[in-house]
């Protein structure tokens, strides 16, 4: 119930924000989403997956979008680009077809915030860099949480979660993070 309320609240908030943004300036909203899309892309550059995270050497890095992602259409610009030797592919995550997960990155939409904790308990989500944009995302098992900071974005990192998921996060990224938790 609380989660539902909270979700509703968030949804409403996002809606309000979105509405506000779209109302004030359509171009500002565009930059905002585009920037966020770039952030997602850039995270892939500073995270290393173990080879076991991929089926083959040529397997792409899959960025799965779970829930409602308003800027998903901006991610098209990075879809198919290469991160090192691997291609970055954007796809929508389907919970019903969990056996076929294979995601290396997952952006969890605001509307799926309530499912996060249970979501991470699933072993199928090992080696997945989870990225969210809610306040408790990293406390709920998420690894990176993106936040708005004036005219740009900042992010927090839960290093412990990252390590549990077998991921190595570049120190450069850690330096840029606003807050890094799970260091002890």
């Amino acid at each position: 119930m609380v989660a539902g309320t909270y979700r509703m609240f968030i949804t409403s908030l996002f809606f309000c924000i979105g509405l506000t943004v779209s109302t004030i300036s359509m171009s500002a909203a565009k930059d905002y989403f585009q920037l966020k899309a770039i952030f997602l892309y850039n995270f892939a550059n500073f995270v290393e997956w173990p080879s076991t995270a991929f089926k083959t050497k040529e397997s792409p890095i899959e960025l799965c979008l779970y829930g409602k992602v308003p800027f998903s259409k901006f991610l098209n610009s990075i879809d198919g680009t290469f991160i090192g030797d691997r291609q970055l592919i954007i796809k929508q995550y389907d919970i019903n077809d969990s056996s076929k997960s294979g995601c290396q990155m997952m952006f969890v939409g605001e509307n799926k915030k309530s499912e996060i904790e249970a979501f991470w308990s699933n072993k199928r989500h090992l080696y997945v860099l989870s990225i969210g944009e809610t306040d408790d995302f990293i406390n709920s098992g998420g690894i990176i949480n993106i936040m708005r900071n004036q005219d740009t974005f900042t992010f927090d990192i839960n290093l412990e979660s990252a390590m549990k998921n077998g991921l190595f996060i570049s120190s450069d990224l850690l330096i840029l993070a606003r807050k890094v938790t799970g260091l002890n």
């Binding site: 850039n42 570049s170 450069d172 330096i175 840029l176």
Partner: protein
């Protein structure tokens, strides 16, 4: 090189040139080296700076890649601020993927980063601009360029470093130049020293005109070659100078000879002029007499005509004699122009002359003796013939009693031909004029009528022409001796051709003995005449008597029986010769061969003089013996006897030994005249 620098350089001394060369070489070398080192250092430093800048840019780029991607300017600025520790950094700029300025670092507000970067992201490089090195490095992420980092580094530090190095090099240059000058000043003497030495030697040679001086060199380098060449040149010059000197001397001699010949020619012309004037004058005398006797003969009584006739014939004879003389003089003076000397056997020549002239001597009841060994002289036979004939003719003419001796003897300078007579003699005042033409010895008209003063002038002229000296010794009423001195040593003894000294010496001793024998014979022959002469001239003055006696042999009155002489010589032959000579001179002589005999003689007899040979045996010398005798005389309270040494030795040690003693000495072979003069002096003065 410009001409004026060449001229200026040419006027510098060698030492200054060497100093200048050393300085220029060193400074050029050091300067070029310094420029090279500084340039290399600056280049390397720039490269290092560029490399360092790129490396730093890469690190900063890597560190800032995330900042660019996540638009974290603050972190990028923090990264760039680390350049603050780097002194050279002026500014640094990070440009994002869109080439827009993303982050800036500036030192001292020195920011020149443009807002946009108009280069491709992949481009990298460096450029030097406005005293700074600007490097542009791409910021890569997983092989993709995500931005650029521009880093500007100041070259001020490098320039300051180069400036400091330049100062150090300049200091080194100054110090090394000073050291080089000091070293060059020392070492350049090895080059300039021999050259200055050569210069001094050349100056000395020029000053003294002495080409025997030679330069020396102590270095074994090109200067030694120069010195050797210089000395060879001097040697050559010295040789040329010697040849020149000889040539000049020959020219002088030739010139002098020509001058002498010219003078002689002038003198001859003058003589001829005087001669003809004299002859013209003299010819008038007999012609006048003939004319007068002829006229007297016409008018004189019968009984007196024989007397006048005889006088007339005498005048004609005189005139003929005068013509003969005149023609002979003219003929022989012509022959003087063709002077040919040759070896003459003087003995055969003199005997040939005597055989012809002896008739004239016999006419006047005069003895004419000749003494001449087999000597070969170098002269002109015709002229010697004329000379001897003239002298004999004069001797016969001016001698009424006694005789004439013609002899040839050896003397110090060669040979001498002597014509001695016991005639009227020549007054001292006239002796200097007898060789002039038309000078007659006697004022006695009976005698002068037989000659016209041409004979002795011919003799003198011939002697001068032949280079022979003529010596006259004469005393009034005692006699005259003419000596022709033939100065040559071309003595060849036909009988004994041995050149050994001992043989020659023995030959001379033998000659002396023969002379003594001859003179003894001659004097013996003359003795009756002398006695007769003394008896018939009782009214003559004491002086005349004395001189007359001396004419026979002037030393007879010096050698007397109370003036005994002791002669000591271990060689019996020489002892015999000396004793014989002294005996012939009338001396009381005792000859001994040993010192013991000498002392025995002294013990038994009083002597006025002792003559001792020096070498009296292997270990006995005359000085020691004379000292023994002197000691003996002192010990026996006897009167000291004057003594002198005779020696044939030329050994300086022996001669010094004699000179250091108080005794006088005479060198062998003894010259009779000198010996006689010495003894005469000693006995007269009782030295």
């Amino acid at each position: 090189m410009p001409e004026f620098i060449k001229n200026w350089f040419s006027y510098l001394s060698i030492s200054k040139k060497l100093n200048l060369i050393a300085f220029l070489t060193l400074s050029t070398t050091v300067t070029i080296s310094a420029i090279a080192i500084i340039g290399f250092d600056q280049n390397q430093s720039k490269k290092q700076l560029i490399t360092q800048s790129k490396l730093l840019s890469n690190i900063l780029g890597e560190r800032s890649a995330a900042s660019i991607l996540f638009l974290d300017i603050k972190t990028a600025n923090v990264n760039l601020s680390s350049l603050n520790k780097r002194e050279e950094t002026l500014y640094a700029c990070i440009y994002g993927k869109n080439n827009k300025l993303f982050s800036v670092y500036e030192k001292n507000n020195f920011n020149k980063c443009p807002e946009n970067m108009n280069v491709k992201l992949k481009d990298e490089g460096s450029l030097e601009y406005d005293n700074q090195i600007i490097t542009i490095s791409p910021i890569m992420l997983k092989g993709k360029p995500i931005g650029q980092l521009v880093l500007s580094s100041s070259l001020e530090k490098l320039n300051k470093r180069s400036y400091n190095i330049s100062l150090i090099v300049l200091t080194i240059l100054v110090i090394s130049s000073f050291i080089a000058l000091l070293v060059t000043r020392k070492l350049q003497k090895t080059i300039t020293g021999p050259i200055l030495e050569l210069s001094k030697v050349a100056e000395k040679i020029t000053k003294n005109q002495d080409y025997s001086i030679r330069a020396t060199s102590v270095f074994n380098d090109e200067t030694q070659i120069l010195t050797r060449t210089f000395n060879q040149m001097l040697h050559h010059i010295q040789g040329v100078q010697l040849e020149m000197s000889q040539f000049i001397n020959e020219l002088k001699e030739d010139s002098q000879k020509s001058q002498d010949e010219a003078d002689e020619q002038i003198e001859r012309n003058e003589s001829i002029r005087h001669y003809f004037s004299g002859v013209t004058h003299d010819l008038k005398q007999p012609l006048q007499a003939i004319e007068m006797f002829s006229s007297i003969l016409v008018t004189s009584p019968e009984d007196q005509r024989d007397v006048v006739n005889s006088k007339l014939r005498a005048s004609v004879a005189n005139l003929r004699q005068m013509f003969d003389d005149w023609l002979n003089v003219s003929k022989l003076e012509d022959s003087l122009k063709q002077l040919n000397k040759s070896k003459i056997n003087i003995k055969s020549l003199l005997y040939s002359i005597v055989s012809e002239v002896s008739v004239l001597a016999n006419d006047k009841n005069l003895k004419l003796k000749v003494y001449c060994p087999d000597y070969i002289i170098y002269s002109n036979a015709k002229m010697i013939d004329r000379i001897v004939r003239n002298l004999l003719s004069n001797a016969i003419r001016y001698t009424e009693k006694g005789g004439i001796i013609l002899a040839c003897r050896i003397c110090d300078s060669g040979y001498k031909i002597q014509v001695s007579d016991t005639g009227i003699g020549i007054d001292d005042e006239k002796q200097q004029f007898v060789f002039d033409k038309f000078t007659q010895v006697s004022e006695n008209k009976q005698l002068t009528g037989q000659g016209y003063g041409l004979g002795l002038s011919i003799v003198k002229k011939f002697c001068d022409t032949l280079g022979h000296d003529i010596v006259l010794k004469s005393r009034i009423n005692l006699g005259t001796t003419f000596s022709i001195i033939i100065k040559n040593k071309t003595e060849i003894n036909i009988a004994k051709k041995s050149n050994k000294k001992e043989l020659k010496y023995n030959r001379r001793i033998s000659d002396q003995k023969r002379i003594i024998e001859k003179e003894t014979i001659n004097l013996t022959d003359n003795k009756p005449n002398t006695q007769t002469n003394n008896q018939s001239k009782n009214n003559q003055t004491d002086n005349d008597k004395k001189t007359n006696y001396v004419t026979k042999h002037s030393i007879y009155n010096v050698f007397s029986t109370d003036s005994a002489i002791l002669v000591l010589d271990d060689d019996p032959i020489i002892l015999d010769a000396i004793v014989s000579q002294l005996n012939n001179w009338g001396a009381d002589v005792v000859g001994v061969t040993t010192p013991e005999d000498a002392i025995n003689c002294i013990a038994n007899k009083e002597f006025k003089l002792i003559i001792s040979d020096y070498q009296l045996g292997e270990d006995i010398d005359g000085v020691s013996v004379l000292k023994q005798i002197e000691a003996y005389l002192i010990n026996n309270n006897k009167k000291a006897i004057y003594s002198f040494i005779i020696t044939a030795s030329l050994d300086k040690r022996i001669l010094n030994d004699i000179k250091q003693s108080k005794y006088d000495y005479m060198a062998k072979p003894l010259k009779p005249a000198k010996l006689r003069a010495k003894i005469e002096f000693i006995l007269k003065n009782e030295v």
